[in-house]
């Protein structure tokens, strides 16, 4: 009898021990913080799913408030197609958002209202070496469902060969993207007007488009640039007209398909496969060899050294780079996680991941023995592709040729590495 008693008590103790062991080891609570993001999105999507929504068409006129609801976004999520949202600012500048349906995994409400003004851009111009052109773009605060491309149809022509899309913070200007410039002729008088296209990875607040010519200061040089631009644009214009069957002839669509052939960054495979040969340089043999730029860094720890666990100090490189940006080959259909796995294995970098059924994805808890929560309670690994922090797991993100993947260690729930989710 007493032996039986003891046996049961022992098994109970064992059970407690084992459960506490697995609990403290890789812990469910570990995942709650950074992945809460996913949970919130999932919950809210469940609630609204049953509402009857008209599926979004390829091109949608934005409502007055510029809001595309979550239910509407859901109708385009995961579709291998581009979707356009068109609107006009108060000052009459037409704009168009371009979303790639396949990049949307967790649809969230999008606030796509854009305001443009040239007021108060004098200082910015001055700060940017007296740039001749500047435009303030105000975007509403939201969490991007996918990296979106924004196209602005300006009302006048910019004689610039380089336009930077920037963010101003504490008097300093940070470049976010280089806008693609094209010129269109509209109206009966054939007035030349500039169209700018750039990628949006941050929202909420004022952003600046700063234009100028990089070749020289003299007026003559500018004139040269103008002609150069025109010839280039004309050549491209022919291409787009013959190819893009989605194009309704409106100037905004033309701007979108007009791609700078030298930058392979935005050449999405979906688009290329439809017979686009305008960017002949980047779409040659992508089935056999696709490359992405891959990097792993933890420089935020250097700024939060006091929060770091003492035992982990030796694993933080002096400059914060665990893996310098390097070209990595990958195969069709591989995800960010697949590439991370292979890169780490080849480079001999320790890595730990857990399959998380809740997010239907792997969760990377540690790289190079630097784990989540090793540098404060808000620390962990995040990934961003082409400047955007996806709101879904890394084994759900399928890479495309020329993508730039950054794995970054955050000490503040992503705020210190440029993710806006918790702002």
């Amino acid at each position: 009898m007493s032996r039986k008693k003891k046996g049961l008590a022992l098994w109970l103790a064992l059970f407690l021990g084992v459960s506490s062991l697995t609990g403290c080891g890789s812990g469910n609570d570990n995942m709650t913080q950074l992945s809460q993001k996913g949970a919130e999105i999932m919950n809210s999507s469940d609630e609204e799913q049953d509402a009857d929504v008209e599926p979004l068409k390829t091109k949608t006129q934005l409502p007055e408030d510029g809001i595309i609801t979550q239910a509407q976004m859901e109708t385009i999520a995961g579709k291998d197609e581009k979707f356009y949202f068109v609107g006009k600012t108060d000052s009459g500048i037409g704009y168009k958002w371009t979303y790639n349906g396949s990049q949307i995994q967790n649809p969230v409400e999008q606030k796509l209202l854009v305001q443009c003004t040239e007021d108060g851009t004098e200082e910015i111009k001055k700060a940017a070496n007296n740039a001749p052109y500047a435009l303030k773009v105000t975007l509403e605060k939201m969490n991007l469902a996918a990296p979106a491309k924004l196209t602005l149809n300006l009302k006048e022509e910019w004689n610039a060969d380089k336009v930077l899309y920037c963010l101003e913070e504490n008097g300093k200007i940070y470049q976010l993207d280089t806008a693609k410039i094209s010129t269109r002729e509209s109206g009966k008088k054939k007035v030349k007007r500039t169209t700018l296209t750039f990628n949006v990875t941050k929202t909420g607040g004022d952003f600046y488009l700063i234009g100028g010519s990089t070749t020289g200061e003299a007026a003559d040089d500018q004139a040269d640039d103008e002609t150069k631009d025109n010839t280039k644009d004309n050549a491209k214009g022919e291409d787009t007209q013959s190819k893009d069957n989605k194009s309704t002839g409106s100037s905004s669509d033309q701007a979108d398909t007009d791609r700078n052939p030298t930058s392979g960054q935005d050449g999405s495979s979906a688009d290329n496969s439809s017979g686009d040969t305008s960017g002949s340089g980047d779409s040659s043999d992508e089935d056999t060899a696709m490359t992405c730029t891959f990097s792993i860094e933890c420089s935020t720890i250097l700024n939060n050294w006091n929060d770091l666990k003492e035992s982990k100090a030796e694993f933080v490189p002096a400059d914060g780079w665990i893996l310098y940006p390097s070209e990595v080959e990958f195969y069709e259909g591989e995800t960010v996680f697949d590439v991370l796995k292979r890169v780490c294995n080849e480079a001999g970098i320790q890595m730990e991941s857990e399959w998380t059924p809740m997010y239907n994805s792997y969760y990377v808890s540690g790289i190079n023995n630097l784990y989540e929560f090793d540098c404060g309670k808000d620390s962990g690994w995040m990934y961003c592709v082409n400047g955007w922090y996806p709101n879904y797991g890394c084994s759900k993100y399928t890479l495309e040729d020329g993508d730039t993947v950054e794995w970054r260690y955050t000490c503040n729930l992503g705020r210190d590495v440029g993710d806006q989710y918790y702002d």
Binding site: M1, R3, K4, K5, K6, G7, L8, A9, L10, W11, L12, A13, L14, G17, V18, L21, T22, G25, S26, E310, S311, K312, E314, F315, F337, L340, K341, C344, N345, Q350, M351, E352, S353, E354, W355, Y362, G366, N369, Y371
Partner: protein
């Protein structure tokens, strides 16, 4: 209640187990775990019997130790010494996780041994005596919770015997009936448990448990022996605690194995501790762990000595008497 330590003041018993369990849990240095293990095994064998301890260890604790030791490297992949690559998740099974799993298994094993001693020494009346007035509700709940499982099992046996008499035991009938009988027994047991909890609470309340000015029945007195023993325990605790604070028992398994006093893969802990302090800490912790056993053994020795003395005197006297009587009887017969 045969051993000397359980006759000491409850506060000493509690202090001893709190320190020993705490050290075992938080100081995961293999040398200290070994000391703790030897002390726990010896004391447990002394209190529960050698055969019983061995049987339980071999049947239950060692298998569970192995399970725990293997579970850790399956779910944790930190460390600098990769052993085995898992293709699907990109994880490595590492030496560090394996070693830590073994250490954790040992901690669990030693804790179970210590708790088997704890159950013998710290009875629920001692616990209530110590904490009944400071945290009345909590201590009653704790003591009830601690005896919950054995109490439950005992009552289940009673219920089962009763059901057996009316032919409704699990051993009767076909499988459907068996399940019904089993569920019925569970239902009875749960009902009883709920009722019993209320009854216990009511009876404790009716006795004025937890009221102000109520004294607890106790035969515990903090006498001279307790003072000496308490002083020794306190000094040893302070010395070993001081040593551990200064890194005498430093241990780290994640991400690299670092142990005080050892060089592992050419590495030593950052926080170094003088060898003298390390040895003093080690010895004082050892004495602390073995103190109750030493007390028992010394008492046993003294008892045996005096008993053998008594025994020899008595035997001589009685033998003489018997022999004389026998001689007389023999004489009469003849």
């Amino acid at each position: 209640m045969t051993d000397a330590f359980s006759r000491c003041h409850p506060i000493l018993n509690f202090f001893y187990f709190a320190v020993v369990l705490g050290f075992t849990m938080f100081i995961q240095h293999p040398v200290y775990l070994a000391v703790s293990f030897v002390a726990a095994t010896a004391y447990s064998m002394w209190l529960n019997g050698v055969g019983k301890v061995l049987k339980i260890n071999f049947l239950l604790t060692i298998p569970s130790l192995l399970i725990v030791a293997l579970l850790n490297p399956m779910f944790n992949h930190y460390g600098v010494t990769p052993l085995l690559y898992i293709e699907s998740s990109g994880n490595w099974v590492t030496l560090e996780a394996l070693v830590y799993g073994i250490v954790l298994g040992c901690v669990l094993f030693i804790m179970i041994l210590w708790f088997s001693c704890y159950n013998q020494i710290m009875t629920s009346d001692k616990f209530i005596y110590l904490f009944g007035r400071i945290i009345p509700a909590m201590s009653l709940m704790l003591s009830m919770a601690l005896r919950f499982v054995p109490h439950f099992i005992a009552q289940l046996k009673v219920i089962r015997n009763g059901q057996k008499c009316v032919g409704m035991d699990v051993s009767n009938g076909k499988w459907f009936k068996k399940v019904r009988y089993a569920l019925n027994m569970v239902s009875i047991l749960v009902t009883w448990a709920l009722e019993n909890a209320i009854e216990t609470a009511d009876s404790m309340k009716s006795r004025g448990y937890g009221l102000k000015g109520r004294t607890a029945f106790s035969i515990y007195r903090f006498n001279r022996r307790d003072k000496i023993l308490g002083g020794m325990l306190a000094v040893l605790f302070v010395v070993s605690g001081y040593g551990c604070y200064h890194g005498a028992a430093f241990s780290q398994y994640n991400p690299r194995i670092l142990l005080a006093g050892f060089t592992i893969f050419g590495r030593v802990p950052r926080q170094s501790c003088s060898p003298v302090l390390a040895v003093i800490t080690f010895i004082s912790f050892g004495i602390f762990c073995f103190l109750p056993l030493m007390l028992d053994l010394s008492e046993e020795y003294a008892m045996k000595k005096s008993r053998s003395h008594v025994h020899s005197e008595m035997t001589v006297t009685y033998r003489q008497i018997y022999e004389e009587l026998a001689n007389e009887m023999e004489g009469e017969h003849k």
